[in-house]
């Protein structure tokens, strides 16, 4: 049976829009890999440094933003210091803005509690460079202030002064973090990636090369449960469920019609 693609398109639009308007309130359960990220931040002492890297493009913002907000809220509520930058150009302005907004929620001060260092292309070189000297890779922050002058970065030399790296990614950048920062400098790495990339990183989870994994909007929703601050992730979960069911029904319909047409031909 051939359905015009546009009918499928309309079905999908409806199945996402309706649950957004009329909330159902399906329950959500926290998975182990998300809890592991939460724990690896939870166990840090006040004042330790977390490096948050915005390794994504503007297109995946709907998934990255809820995850970034949840993780940053956790960091700031724990009084951790946050050093941040972007390894993909489009993450730059986005990262700067998300970081500033969340920091303001918690009254954190720029330069003392958090910094944003801007963008570096050629991520291999940047990640490796951080293992030797942060000031060399980032002589200045995003605003052009020397990293030797900012109170927070003044104290940081390389990975030895960074307790955890969180890579927010929509591509294979975490692989570079693992291949270079983890393997070469024993840096602890947690990742928050779009759902599409999540399966890619399960092997690293079981080999303990990453300390945890937050996967997409669902992961964000789970993280929001853990820090007890419902946000964008939780709001989208109903729509997610309904859309999945509609797609599965379409697949079932496709198969039923396939087998029926096969029988008719016989």
């Amino acid at each position: 049976m051939k359905i015009d693609r546009r009918i499928i398109f309309v079905l999908i639009a409806i199945s996402v829009a309706i649950p957004l308007i009329f909330k159902i309130g399906l329950p959500n359960k926290v998975t182990k890999e998300v809890k592991m990220v939460y724990d690896s931040i939870e166990e840090l002492e006040q004042g330790e440094v977390v490096l948050v890297s915005f390794d994504h493009e503007a297109s995946s913002l709907p998934e990255i933003k809820p995850m970034a907000e949840a993780v940053l809220r956790h960091c700031f509520s724990k009084n951790l210091k946050v050093v941040s930058f972007a390894l993909l150009a489009e993450g730059t302005a986005i990262g700067d803005e998300i970081l500033r907004n969340v920091a303001n929620e918690y009254d954190r001060k720029y330069g003392r509690d958090y910094v944003f260092l801007g963008f570096r292309p050629q991520y291999t070189a940047a990640i490796l460079g951080l293992g030797e000297d942060l000031h060399r890779v980032f002589p200045e922050d995003y605003k052009g202030i020397s990293t030797f002058e900012l109170p927070l970065t003044k104290e940081i030399k390389n990975y030895e002064d960074i307790s955890l790296v969180v890579s927010l990614a929509d591509g294979d950048l975490p692989t570079y973090w693992i291949n270079y920062a983890e393997a070469r400098y024993d840096q602890r790495i947690a990742i928050a990636v779009t759902a599409v990339m999540a399966t890619t990183y399960y092997p690293y989870l079981s080999s303990k090369q990453i300390t945890g994994l937050v996967g997409g909007l669902k992961g964000a929703a789970e993280y929001e449960i853990l820090i007890d601050k419902p946000g964008m992730g939780s709001k989208g979960m109903d729509a997610q469920s309904v859309a999945h069911v509609v797609i599965l029904l379409l697949v079932v319909l496709g198969n039923v019609s396939y087998f029926l047409s096969g029988k008719l031909r016989k």
Binding site: E57, S59, V196, T200
Partner: protein, 294 residues
């Protein structure tokens, strides 16, 4: 290839250069272990990686030399490759063009290099029948290389006059801008065959779905594991990861490349044996093998 003597000489020069650099840099204070380590010539913690490296180099080299000597090595057929031949034939019969895309990869990606090698063979076949080969590009460097490869292939096939550089063109460095352009080409020119070989990202599904809607035969191959799942669902044949690399060796028939593929096969056997041995030891609570790994 460079002569071995020359190679050692260059390496020596390079080392000398860096030593000179070193002598003019200010001395660092030597305080702790890290500083002490920085006086040494070898980092003992990396011994296991060195062992792995030596194993890889020895095996791959051995088979490269072996291949060079023997001239011809056996490589099994790869399903997607046979399909490429048929697909070219089909386009010729129908008098329709063939669309080629190397995806978003830059020239330093292994998949892009493999794609260029395959492009050479495809172009040679296409030249015999004078079937148009359209190749929109995402990266200007890849485009330049592709033009040279195709031109050379047409010459080798004895039809340099059929080569049209305007068919291999640069589109844009924006992912979705590129997709939109390729989609436009598909809808307007209706190619009989689409070849997607290289590094792909989210655009894979849009390309494959549009290609499907115009009824083209589609053969894909990529090293991006995620996109493989879309190609598998939406294309007729898919070269999975290493198959793409091997395919380029299979087509070029370069004994040195084939040799290195053999070398990889032996490494795979070694990996399987080691993993199973490690599993057996782990069953008896021995960490003898696992301890050796990083």
């Amino acid at each position: 290839m460079l002569k071995p003597k020359k190679r050692i000489f260059i390496l020596f020069l390079l080392l000398l250069f860096f030593f000179l650099l070193n002598s003019i840099t200010p001395a660092f204070a030597q305080k702790n272990e890290v500083e002490e380590l920085k006086q040494r010539w070898f980092d003992p913690e990396k011994a296991n990686v060195l062992a792995g490296l030596v194993t890889c180099i020895v095996l791959i080299f051995f088979f490269i030399i072996y291949g060079k000597k023997k001239g011809k090595l056996f490589i099994r057929e790869i399903a997607g490759l046979q399909a490429i031949d048929d697909a070219i034939g089909r386009a010729t019969e129908m008098g329709k063009p063939i669309l080629y895309s190397a995806g978003l990869g830059k020239m330093d990606r292994v998949a892009t290099m493999a794609s260029m090698n395959i492009l050479g063979t495809v172009a040679e076949k296409v030249a015999e029948y004078n079937t148009p080969l359209i190749f929109p590009n995402y990266d200007p460097v890849v485009m330049a290389v592709a033009q040279e490869v195709v031109k050379e292939s047409f010459t080798r096939a004895g039809h340099p006059e059929f080569y049209n550089p305007d068919n291999i063109f640069f589109v844009t460095q924006s992912q979705f801008g590129y997709v939109a352009a390729v989609d436009g080409i598909m809808v307007r020119q209706k190619p009989a065959t689409n070849l997607f070989l290289g590094t792909f990202e989210a655009e894979s599904l849009i390309l494959a779905e549009t290609g499907n809607s115009i009824g083209a035969i589609q053969i894909a191959g990529t090293d991006s594991t995620i996109q493989l799942s879309f190609f598998i669902v939406a294309c007729d044949y898919t070269l999975i990861g290493e198959e793409l690399f091997a395919a380029s060796g299979y087509l070029t028939k370069d004994p040195m490349v084939l040799g290195s593929i053999k070398g990889q096969d032996f490494l795979k056997i070694l990996i399987i044996i080691l993993v199973l041995a490690g599993g057996i030891l782990a069953t008896f609570n021995s960490e003898f093998l696992t301890k050796l790994f990083p």
